[in-house]
Symmetry: C2
Subunit: 720 residues, 2 copies
């Protein structure tokens, strides 16, 4: 599934809500994948492919015109942009009615669904249906963002950061100017304002968002149909998943009235038909240098996978002990499995010699071109510079990840304690000098998370914390002075037990009292989790400084490479994915695999065939309602379909629209061949997988008796 | 479960049939374990505990007399020794009728059960019942050993290995003298003859075994009742598992007539009653130096667990794709999960500061005593010597494990190819100069494995091989010249696919033709798997030499420490476990945990309660037969029981006997607190878990209609 892994600037990532791309599957097809990828790479046609995760202020007008004969007009683009919604929990979505109805994937809504549940209610598993507005259920900490405008502020940012500055001064200067721009913008417009880094530091754009924090759940199907086939079928195709759910954005306690929303078209899609995807791809690595890719292959991916494997085993074993354990761990376990499959596929790509040879040749060509042009002399050293910075990051990555990125302290209670501790330090500082998450323009979002009433379970917190302390002791060694200090002559499990049992951070009022009391109140508190956060804070900040400084060095060098590439290749291109809004395009298109034609669509009939061929054994069983109502369904309705659009984790929930801008589907996955898209685009076999709009309407009507929702989606005049 | 991990002399272990001790479980009780272990350690009463895995030629006569007032007579010991059976696939068992009937655990028989199966038959899952001799099913490659005699050959071995020899000469000399002793013994007695190393090199004993290679399956229950509660309940107590199966040893095509077999006593056991366990504990680490224990904690255990986690994820995902995949992977997956849980518990013990403080204090005391006695001067340097040798091993451990111990080539086809290759080199050599597995006295056992008609599946072989090649590339780096050579500019998956598709080693006749054709035939064969084995053979042998030489250095030093300990502590003691026959003793005894009394027995009634409290959800569901026949059972019959006997992985299937030598149960597990027994004995909470003899008879009668088996077990006069 294509949920995003939240960006952390380094090595590997603390959060499991997740690149949610996947890669492991039937052994046989794994084994065949690499050869297939190799063929794809060879067959790549370069500039003429359906490639690109384009910026809305630099859309692929020429390419779309040339390949599909269509002109992208400004109003068409504006409509799609403003109907697109970002889920800050890690995904995409869209407005689908004028009354603020938002559609996304079930697996994007999973976080919110899981937080509603308790021992007697498992909404994630069983689904939810509000039959009227009064029944719509307010999410605990979900924030939606709608991109209202983009402004290029590269010059202002780069003017503030002088080339002669040392990295620490440059980091401070960049942080200050970005915070200032954001604060000014927020004060002026009232909108959430983020300066986003593009082209690895080649460009800085100011993104202004309309923000919704009162978001209510309207409808979710059972997880069993949303994620039919489970981990085995994840990142596979053909597929049969109703991976949708519906929320409603509220303003001032009433459904938000929105101007830009998508009208539906439930007709079948023709083979070759042009479609667009508007969503938030989380992270790609296409513009990395060969040395950076090697770092991914040799260090980062193996480490991530090692940790994902251990978490998957930990969570699976915990889940097997009881139904309630399974409920508590389900959302996190899904994220872990999803990331594991995605990273497995990514690593397979990185270990394919063909991919590396191609990347190496490309870099060599660009370096040669730069060497031949005196106007690009400033870029000549850039690769070396990045390599040096990467080496310094590598030296510190392990400790950084454990201490600062949170891998050594895998506990929500710890995260809350640390954020509270730092709020006392950071909030009194001038806006431009704060750690970036405490910048004025981000505080409201941060507080939404910090004061979330998400239920926390002692046993689950202890399990995660103990495991991460063991992991830290393994990685740094039990003799490491820092490890000894953190454990305090206790075993990791005893220490975790003592911390979770002793902390008061489960209590939201306690969090608020410390946050509002500020530094004096925080300093006085003897809370053991706060003590732990205090104990590691200096070292964590020190490591963060090192990493951020080298990241700054890399940004500047990447900026030079980006300029050189533009000068040499003469095209604008698109930046690597950064969880900002992007436009992709492509054709609805089947493919040939192992001599067999894989069709571009599946149907509802195929769902029942697949379940029956697996004897309805989990994860191929169907919810009771789907068993009972089979005869009511028009089994010929398209269920899932594929296209060549360029997507990646974070695109989950992205609307798929046709030339007229009508919603025809919703992205929820990529096939196994798409996992290489992290590093290189290919359209030979890689496909984006969507739920077809027609199947959504058909099942809402025939399986869920959700006539009121269908009416809202289709308006008065149903095309069905 | 207490299946053994086959001994490999180093770092970590290739085989997954497995120390099958377990450790992960409900988070809460894990978290409480460490505090509990600490208490146990404090409460340890030293020499008066039910401690020890005693040699049959040095039994704990004084201790048993002193604690339980019983005299261990020679005939009593001989009867138990010769009724005990070793399963070379990794477990223990016993003769239970004069017609060669052998009882062991279902999970020990799992290997044989799995090898019988095909897409239409899943004997491991569904069980098996031969209603007469004709239906008994011959195992493909199972070897049983019965220990007939023990002879101390320490002096002869040590005389051959001169103190002034360099390690390489010492290794050669020791190998030669051991092979010579074994060959002589085999020629003289016709028995399998192994010189076993005890006390880490302090003693060498010649063990002579009667060997059975025609072994037939008689009865196995469904895995669901044998392993009720699955991974969640593994290494837990209270338990409700019918973990038994029955084989029959044949000689000359007829059931073997045996003199020594165990009579049954199905009566309930009293609290405090003395019981004995006779079995084959696989490996303990109680006599290791502190530096060696630190190596386990810092290097070996984390590495093993990292690999087990990745294998568990790999096999679980493969299994989820279809019922047939699940069948193919089931036995291996069980072994992996079992080892993972055991190692998790072991690492928790190693990370408990109390355990390390105790070990450190003990070592300090012994060193001080040695320093004060001139007659022990030779031992003074031993700890330093071990430490130096351990450091050299550490440097080479990773490559050794990948290249020589097989972790980089996890494929049965590869193992077969390498054994074939080496057979061509080794068999022409004089017996004493061969690699140890090719010594004359072991060849018949080796051939039984090599020519096994165990079914091998291309997809499963590719899956494992590809994953292990990726693992190797991750660990050594993709730039490593050796990795590049092995992969041959292919991705790991393509390379695995090519190797498995291209090799002919699936064909047993092909194996035989090369093995019998010897070096000339092997050299001519272009089989790709053989080519691979050839490619890495030199490097593998080089690493093995280094490791075996340092192992020799450690053996000599441990010999000196063992002598010093004997001189200082004045007691004989018992050696660390080595998968040789040992006698343990203890009392049937409940314990207090979290303020609650845990009873010494469970009953058949408890099985149904546990299943029902978990809503009969897997792994807590019951086979249909057990649901249907509940009313026939006497639910008051004891099902499982616990005792303080000192056991570890490898003891699975060990008979439990009373003072009269009557069989009262069969070991199948230890509780969670027993996982620390690897390093230190404790009887506060650690318990061995057995199936009660009465429950076996009751279920054979009432659930399986196996009257003929009951009759054979109980003879004419049933005590029931």
């Amino acid at each position: 599934m294509l949920e995003v892994e939240m960006p952390i600037p380094i090595a590997f990532h603390a959060r499991m809500k997740s690149d949610r791309s996947k890669s492991r599957q039937r052994a046989f097809s794994i084994l065949q994948m690499t050869a297939a990828v190799a063929i794809q790479i060879i067959m790549l046609t370069g500039a003429h492919a359906d490639e690109g995760m384009w910026l809305f202020n630099a859309p692929p007008r020429d390419l779309v015109k040339q390949r599909y004969g269509m002109d992208l007009s400004d109003p068409w683009l504006e409509q799609l942009q403003k109907a697109s919604v970002r889920f800050n929990s890690g995904g995409s979505g869209s407005f689908v009615s004028e009354d603020g109805l938002v559609m996304s994937n079930h697996h994007v809504g999973a976080d919110a669904l899981a937080k509603f549940g308790d021992a007697d209610h498992d909404y994630l598993k069983d689904g939810f249906h509000a039959r009227n507005q009064a029944e719509e259920k307010k999410c605990l900490d979900l924030e939606l963002n709608v991109l209202m405008s983009i402004e290029d502020v590269t010059d202002r940012v780069n003017t503030a950061v002088k080339p002669e500055m040392k990295p620490d001064a440059a980091v401070a200067a960049r942080r200050a100017v970005m915070a200032a721009i954001e604060k000014e913008s927020m004060d002026k417009t009232g909108l959430r304002s983020d300066v986003v880094t593009l082209f690895q530091g080649g460009k800085y754009h100011l993104y202004r968002f309309k923000k919704y924090t009162d978001v209510r759940l309207v409808f979710a199907p059972e997880q069993q149909i949303a994620f039919f086939g489970g981990d085995p079928d994840n990142f596979e195709y053909p597929r049969f998943d109703l991976d949708v759910c519906f929320f409603r954005a509220y303003e001032d306690g009433k459904p938000a009235k929105v101007t830009h929303f998508l009208k539906w078209n439930t007709a079948s899609l023709a083979e070759g038909e042009l479609v667009f995807v508007s969503g938030h791809p989380g992270r790609t690595s296409r513009l990395l240098t060969v040395a950076e890719l090697e770092y991914l292959r040799e260090v980062q991916y193996p480490r991530i996978l090692q940790r994902l494997n251990r978490l998957e085993v930990l969570l699976t074993a915990y889940s097997a002990r009881s139904r309630e354990n399974a409920r508590r761990a389900k959302d996190m376990l899904f994220g872990v499995q999803n990331s594991r499959k995605a990273r497995d596929g990514g690593l397979a790509g990185l270990m394919d010699p063909e991919l590396f040879e191609r990347k190496t040749a490309e870099e060599k060509r660009l370096k040669a071109a730069v060497a031949g042009r005196s106007d690009l002399a400033s870029a000549a050293e850039a690769w070396e510079t990045i390599d040096r910075a990467q080496k310094i990051i590598k030296e510190h990555a392990l400790r950084y990840n454990l201490l600062e990125a949170g891998l050594g302290f895998n506990s929500t209670l710890f995260s809350i304690a640390r954020t509270t501790l730092r709020s006392g330090e950071e909030r009194p500082k001038p806006n431009g000098e704060r750690l970036r998450e405490f910048r004025e323009s981000n505080l409201a979002s941060l507080e939404l998370q910090l004061f979330s009433s998400e239920p926390l379970y002692d046993d689950f917190e202890q399990l995660k914390l103990a495991d991460s302390l063991i992991y830290m002791a393994e990685q740094l060694g039990n003799h490491d002075p820092f490890v000894r200090k953190v454990l305090g002559n206790k075993s990791p499990r005893s220490r975790a037990e003592e911390l979770v049992a002793g902390t008061r951070f489960k209590d939201v009022d306690f969090r608020k009292s410390l946050y509002e009391g500020g530094k004096p109140a925080i300093e006085k508190s003897p809370d053991p989790m706060l003590e732990l956060a205090r104990m590691i804070d200096g070292e964590g900040r020190r490591l963060r400084d090192i990493v951020e400084q080298q990241d700054e060095v890399k940004k500047q060098a990447h900026g030079l490479i980006a300029k050189a590439r533009l000068a040499v290749e003469g095209i604008g291109g698109y930046p690597d994915a950064t969880f900002t809004l992007r436009l992709s395009f492509g054709a609805v298109k089947g493919y040939m695999e192992n001599g067999k034609q894989v069709p571009s669509h599946t149907t509802l009939a195929g769902l029942y065939d697949r379940a029956s061929s697996q004897e309805f054994a989990p994860p191929f069983h169907l919810p009771k309602r789907w068993m009972d109502r089979r005869n009511r369904l028009n089994l010929g309705v398209p269920f899932n379909f594929i296209s060549t659009a360029d997507i990646i984790g974070g695109n989950s929930g992205s609307p798929v629209v046709n030339r007229r801008g009508e919603l025809v589907g919703i992205i929820f996955d990529g096939n196994i061949h798409s996992l290489v898209l992290d590093f290189v685009y290919t359209e030979a076999l890689a496909r984006a997988v969507s739920v077809h709009a027609g199947a959504i309407i058909e099942s809402l009507r025939q399986v869920y008796d959700a006539g009121e929702l269908v009416k809202e989606l289709l308006g008065g005049a149903s095309p069905l």
